[in-house]
Amino acid sequence: MTAISFTLNGRPVSTDIEPHRNLVELLQRFDLFGSRESCGQGLCGCCTVLVDDKAVSGCLYFAVWVDGKRVATVEHLDADGRLSPVQQAFIDTGAFQCGFCTPGFILMAHQLLKEHPNPSDDDIRHYLSGNLCRCGAYPEIIEAVKLAAKATSKAAA
């Protein structure tokens, strides 16, 4: 067991964890299920988590490594009771069917919009190429990202 302390969705937390656990398993102990392991191989993005503001695959990230870091999951996006522009855009465009992949896509879309506030289709396809949607909602997901980009730039103006 290793004692770790980190910031989880804005709150300081501490726990003990075995070195062979990954970040998804750690989050489950905090009743956070938005990041979920699917492929377990870094390919699909269902397990996306932000560590120190960078997106990682929770399934391929040792839990002990978050010691001293800031961890954010999809659950932090509506902490103030309001959906983020990206979350709202996914609903408005119907960018999912079963919703299993959605938390990962939403977190990656937030990162994408931070780097490319006004993304082209190519930027979106490239940035999200590591996220898979088995329901095939890709066209709507691209629409959602564009809608969120518009909503964000309007809110900033």
Partner: protein, 288 residues
């Protein structure tokens, strides 16, 4: 994954002292993306991992030397290489390849040292850096040594590194007008593992190719320099017939291997065609 111990080194020297030349179950870990896959598959079961995250920050830097040589620290993340302004301006071939090397999340976490030391012949950085004439700096108990990257690989997942040695940086010479290209041929998505990788670099003098370096990966057991093809290309004008001869020579020179990304005969035909395309792409490239 089965239990093991994770210890954190706070300096390169400490990391080296924690490694054991006789003990394969003790390994350094950089980004952990390759190791975790092997551990999940049960093909690697460590007793102890030596985490390199907290060694001196200089080993994560990307710096430009006075001679134009780029020094990329082994602990730099792949994403840092992708976003580095000097890499983008001076080595467009490397910059462009980073975009299709896996995905953003893996690039955020994986480090250059891990990408070079892993020894999987399907990886993209080794053939590109070998074609650019890069050297690596390796630290061990007896001090630091340098070797050409192309000499790192001895077989499938095998390198010349001792168990108590660490790559500290990769040194990439300036192109100095040389042309370079890398063709990543995938059979599924663009950012998948390649069926074939071909990297070339050469100078161009009076319309003829000079001092070519040609490297093949993914289709072969290890990253392999093709000296036979280089001889065919040397001093020839890169016209269709000459490139066809070089492609045929490439298909004859190496033994291709079958895997999930293509059969050996298929990869041989890919090599024949993509070698020509690599040279053409290098010619069309505007390089600084």
């Amino acid at each position: 994954m089965i239990p093991f111990e994770m210890v954190e080194a706070t300096s390169l020297k400490e990391a080296l002292s924690m490694l054991d030349p006789q003990e394969p179950a003790i390994r350094p870990v950089a980004g952990g993306t390759a190791l975790m896959l092997m551990m999940k598959a049960g093909v690697f079961q460590p007793t102890r991992l030596i985490c390199l995250h907290r060694i001196e920050p200089e080993y994560a830097r990307i710096t430009l030397g006075a001679s134009g040589e780029l020094r990329i620290g082994a602990m730099a993340s792949l994403r840092e290489v992708e976003k580095d302004a000097n890499v983008a301006a001076r080595l467009p071939v490397l910059h462009r390849a980073m975009r299709t090397l896996s995905n953003v999340r893996v690039r955020n976490v994986a480090r250059v040292g891990g990408a070079l030391a892993h020894g999987d012949p399907h990886m993209d950085l080794p053939p590109i850096l070998a074609a650019l004439g890069a050297r690596i700096s390796v630290a061990g108990p007896k001090g630091e040594r340098q070797l050409p990257l192309e000499q790192l690989y001895t077989g499938y997942y095998e390198t010349v590194l001792d168990r108590n040695e660490l790559i500290t940086s990769v040194l990439v010479p300036p192109l100095n007008g040389r042309k370079a290209a890398y063709m990543k041929v995938t059979s599924r998505t663009a950012d998948d593992w390649p069926s074939l990788g071909v990297a070339v670099s050469f100078a161009l003098a009076d319309g003829a190719i000079r001092d070519p370096i040609v490297v093949v990966s993914a289709a072969t057991e290890k990253v392999t320099r093709m000296s036979g093809v280089e001889k065919v290309l040397q001093s020839t004008a890169p016209e269709d017939a000459a490139l066809r001869r070089a492609g045929d020579a490439a298909a004859d020179e190496v033994q291709t291997l079958s895997d999930a990304h293509g059969s050996a005969p298929y990869k041989r035909e890919l090599l024949r065609v993509y070698l020509r395309r690599a040279v053409r792409q290098a010619l069309n490239e505007s390089v600084h």
